[in-house]
Structure formats: C-alpha cells, structure tokens
Amino acid sequence: MLNINNLHVELEEEDKKILKGVDLTIKAGTVHAIMGPNGSGKSTLSYVLSGKDGYDVTEGAATLDGLDLLDMEPEERAAAGLFLAFQYPVEIPGVGNMTFLRTAVNAQRKARGEDEMSAADFLKLVRARAKELKIDADMLKRPVNVGFSGGEKKRNEILQMAMLEPKMCILDETDSGLDVDAMKLVAQGVNALRAEGRSFLVITHYQRLLDHIKPDVVHIMADGKIIKSGGPDLALEVENNGYEDILAEVA
C-alpha cells in the first residue's frame, strides 16, 4: 500500500534537515504506529506525504499503490486514497462543515470519474456517521472547526475520514487533548473503518490509544529516522521505560 524509501526532507525556508532517511512499508489492511519524542519529525512525515508546501524532498521516494505521491497535488493524493487526520485541525470561518464535507466527497468522486453523491444519500450517510461519533446537528452546521473544542475537532477529523473512506489513513496525534471517553469514541470510529483494503498509520505519544487501536507494527522515530520497529510490545516498552533506553541502545 504505502512505500516510503530513504526519504530525506529539508525545510524550504531555512537550511534545516528534518527527515534523514525514513524507510517504511505498510501493507494493505495493516495498522502501523509511530511513536517518538517531540520534534522527531512525525508530523513532518505526515505533511510531506499529504503534500503540504514548505518542504523540500532532497532524496528518496514515497508511493501509494505504486503511484508517486510526491509528484502529485494534495487533492490528487486525497483522491488516490490518502487521508491525514491533522494534529491541529484548521478552522475555516464562513465554510459550513456540511458544505465542506459534501464538497470534499464529491470532488474526490469526480476526480476518480465517479458520479456525485446525491444530496439525499449524502445527508443520510453523514447523519449516520456523525451519530456514531456523537457529533450533533449543530456541529455539522457550524463553520469547519470554528469554536470546536479540542475533542470536537478530533472527532470531526474522524468524521471526514469516515465520509471519504480513504485507503491509507494517517492519524497524527489524534489522541492528544482527548479525555478517556473521547479517545474511546475516536478509537471506535477508527476500528469501524478497519478493513482488508485499508491501512492505518497512527502517530501517537502514548500507548493509551494503542490499547484501543491495536497495531500490527510499532515504529520508534527519533531525529528524522525510524530507529526501531517491532510488535505491539514495543509500545509497552516505551510506556514503561520511556525513549531513553531505546535511544541508548541504538546509539
């Protein structure tokens, strides 16, 4: 599904290397987790994959089902099935959440040469999905993320994911700022989407989320590289001992 090969990334504005050779292969239907200290480059990886401006890829490649992601516009990557749940979802005053969702769903369908979803089908689907995430009608009507609490923003990200049905979902610290109940809700939302043809890359600081979304593979990222990979136990090790031991072990 997702293949990242020796990815090197620098900031465009300043001479700063952030990713220093990331290798990662995610097979269809699997859940991978990336953990790592603050500033290790996890969000940068997710931004570069989804096509945010401001980064220079100096070496390496990233493909989604064989398509060269780095050569595509952000909207093309989305239509190809890539989705990033943002660590900090963006507020968009003046654009209703519902309008936003419908525009996105139909834009992706159009890009893939599919028919637009009818207004009635869309409404039905969005209501059902919103209900599962305890997102009320008012949140759907309000401008995108404006005045949403931290937890509401994260649930709104998962709603978008549920509506867009991407095949490669990247979740960047979707658990941060959530209380236990909200985290369970988000995890349920993610688990409901787990499917054979769909993969997840879950970026998190805490083992907590991984109790609810069980990963197949856990990676530790530090200083722009994946320094260790393993099974779910690796997350527990981090939880118990912090990153120091692993960092020391690799150094």
Binding site: D53, E75, I92, G94
Partner: protein
C-alpha cells in the same frame, strides 16, 4: 484679473453642461443646493476626503464613454414578486415598469410631481443631504440635489406585501444620469427597497431616507456587472426611535464606484446596519465612505464591508463612527476587510472613531490579506482542487457581509452572483 481657483473653475466647467430645473415645490431646494455647491466646489485630488479616489472623471462636463455591457446573468431580483420601476440611462421606461400601485406604499416619480407647488417630499428633498454636508462636504450630493432629472419618491405608510425595486439599465455609451430618490417610512411601517443595475455610463445617485419611530427599511442594492461605468452614490438616512435601517450593497466590477453612506441615529434604541460586498477585477476602483453619527441613547450601528480584489483592482474604505456627547450606551461596530487574490491589488482603509460619550462600546478593525494558506491546504488535503478551494474560501470571506441581509432568498441570490463572478476567473 486674479487667477481662478482650480476648484471653482472645475465646478464651473462641470456646471456648463447642466441646467437647473425651475418651478414647482423643489425649486428652493435646488437653488439652495446649487449655492452650496458653488460655495464648496467640486472635489479635487488634494482634498483629504478624496485622498484615495481620484475625482477627475466625475468632474468632466461629459461622462467618459463606457461601453454597454451585455449581462447574460439576467436581471437581479427578477425572480421576486415586486413593483419594478425601470430607468434606462436615467430616463424612466414606462413600458418596462410596473404600475406604481401597492397597498401600504405610495410611489411617485420625481419628474411627474415636479410641477406641483406642494408635496410632502418638500420636507425631505435636499434636507438630509444638506444636513449630511457637515462636518464633511459631499459636493456630488449637492450637485445631485440641484440637478437631478428624475428619481422616485416613496412614502411607506404600512407594510407592503412585496418589495419596490428600482432597475437602472445602462444602454448608452455616453449617458450621464442624475437621479434623486426620497424615502419616507412612517411610524411602524416597513419596506424592502431593491436597487439593481449599472444605470448609465456615469451615474450620480442620491437617496434620502427618513425613518420614523419604529419604522424599518431594508435597502439592498446590486450595482451589477458592467466594466466601464462610473458611479458616485450617496445615501443619507435619519433614524427615529426604535427604528431599523439595514443596507447592503453588492458591487461586481465597474471602473469607478464611490458609495457614500451618511447615517444619523436621531432617536433612542435605533439600529443601523450597513454592509457591502464588492468583487473587482483589473481596472476597478471601489470606495465605500461611511459616516455614522450617534446622537441618541442606546443605539446600535454596524458596518461590515468586504472586498475581494484581483488583477490590480483597488479597494477603499473610509468609515467613521461619531458618538456625540450624551449618546450613552452606544454600541458601534465597524469592520472592513480586503482579500487580495494577487500581489497587484491594493486596499486603502481609514477607519475612525470619534467619541464624546463615556458609556459606549465601539470597536473597529480593518484587515488586508491573501487567501489563508493553511485553510487552502486543509481543503486540498480533503480532495478539493485548488481553484475550488480558493473559491470556497473567497465566498467564506464575503459571507459575513452577505449575512447582514435578513431575507434568505435575497441573500442566496447575492451569493449565486458572487459564485458566478468567481467562476468567470
């Protein structure tokens, strides 16, 4: 002989092309306006109030030619049940107009009533305009009062079941129209007044509005698509106790527009909301100049002006809130914002507050910015193509002004016009 002062000579040059209508109830007001105009003179480039907008083409004795633009969008507000009054290049078109009969409102044409010796409009014609000349002079409004060839006088006595619409068609490359409207809203009466169309190659329009206690006027203007036309418009409104005035103006293109709005909150607990959305492309200069005076207790005023500018267009906003001594509990709000779609366009803003009462809440803000890159990326990351995402954000920017319109159907019509402007990029 001393050299003529340039202001006076410009004024005299402009006046050579005009003849003062005589006779009837309006003659004293017209003569008074001419004297005032001659005393103040037409604006020059150096005038502080015209610092951001060149008055030159408004001063020429002949209107600069303006190609007639064929608008394929159809007439704005066409879909509503309404009384429609049509002026073509400033000349009344009886065939195209509806009969001026509607329960709750009397509508007459200025030209029709000109010969009468007595008319209720005498109390208002030129009165609010003349009062609105202090503390800042508005010479084109005085010129209008003196020389207006026609217009409508509207007396709202009840709550008419449909809006009155003024449709201004531009059909001649050299037309120079001067129309003057007077609106009187009686106690507790309510009207929606619509206005649409580019009017003429050059248009000078004044609307004087007097709203009695508890009255309401919704005034929605759409100065439609027409690239080369020029317009200078004034609205002067006086608000009585617990009255409401809500004005919205849409401007889509036009080479030069100066819209002045002068409002006096004269009775307690009155509301005045003025808003504008303008979108301009290339050779486009749009100026909103607003002056709101709070002269009573517990009044609210709101100004919301949004401009989207691209390909070297210029936007201007001069807005002032004056709170007189004793106008306690005033709530004044003013926001003017420009969205520049490229680096060639510019926005010049001069927001002002002048407050002589101590128990008031007044705020103002003005911003100039480009499309929010973060928001653009967020939308694109969800699959919305760049151009569609830019349009969505542009409309989102304008929507705060459009939301000032109470009537949902009218607001939707405005939005659809804005959408088609964006689509024509």
């Amino acid at each position: 002989m001393a050299l003529a002062n340039p202001k006076q000579s410009a004024t005299e040059a402009r006046l050579t092309a005009l003849t003062l209508p005589s006779g009837g109830w309006s003659e004293p007001a017209r003569q008074d306006a001419l004297l005032r105009l001659q005393a103040m003179g037409l604006p020059q480039r150096r005038d502080e109030y015209w610092k951001f907008t060149r008055p030159d083409t408004l001063l020429d004795s002949q209107a600069p030619t303006a190609a007639v633009f064929v608008n394929d969008d159809g007439r704005m507000f066409e879909a509503y049940d309404q009384i429609n009054i049509v002026f073509v290049d400033g000349v009344f078109d009886a065939d195209a107009s509806d009969e001026l009969v509607l329960e709750g409102v009397h509508v007459e044409r200025l030209a029709d009533i000109a010969d009468k010796d007595i008319h209720w409009a005498k109390d208002l014609y030129g009165t609010l305009e003349s009062k609105g000349q202090t503390p800042v002079e508005r010479p084109f409004a005085a010129l209008n009062t003196a020389f207006a060839s026609d217009g409508v006088v509207i007396h709202v006595t009840g709550k008419p079941s449909k809006p009155v619409c003024l449709t201004y068609i531009h059909n001649s490359e050299v037309s120079d129209a001067i129309l003057h409207n007077v609106v009187r809203v009686d106690e507790g009466a309510e009207l929606t007044l619509l206005e649409n169309g580019p009017a003429a190659a050059r248009f000078n329009n004044v609307t004087e509005i007097d709203i009695a206690d508890g009255g309401t006027l919704h005034f929605i203007r759409a100065h439609g698509r027409d690239h080369e036309r020029r317009a200078v418009t004034h609205m002067f409104a006086r608000l009585g106790e617990k009255s409401t005035f809500k004005a919205f103006t849409l401007t889509v293109n036009g080479v030069l527009t100066r819209n002045e709005c002068v409002i006096e909150l004269a009775g307690n607990d009155a509301f005045a909301h003025v808003a504008g959305a303008c979108v301009g492309d290339g050779d486009f200069h749009h100026d909103d100049t607003v002056f709101i005076t709070h002269d009573a207790l517990n009044c609210e005023s709101r100004q919301v002006f949004k401009k989207v500018l691209r390909n070297g267009a210029t936007g201007v906003f001069q807005g002032k809130i004056l709170v007189k001594a004793g106008a306690q509990k005033t709530d004044g709000y003013q926001i003017s914002q420009a969205l520049l779609l490229d680096g060639d366009s510019q926005f010049l803003a001069k927001p002002e507050l002048e407050i002589y009462a101590d128990d008031v809440i007044c705020s103002h803000g003005s911003t100039t910015g480009a499309i929010d890159e973060e928001a653009l990326y967020y939308l694109r990351s969800r699959g919305v193509p760049k151009s569609a995402a830019t349009d969505l954000l542009t409309l989102a920017f304008l929507i705060e002004a459009v939301e000032e319109i109470d009537d949902k159907v009218i607001a939707d019509t405005i939005v659809s016009r804005l959408e088609s402007w964006l689509a024509r990029r």
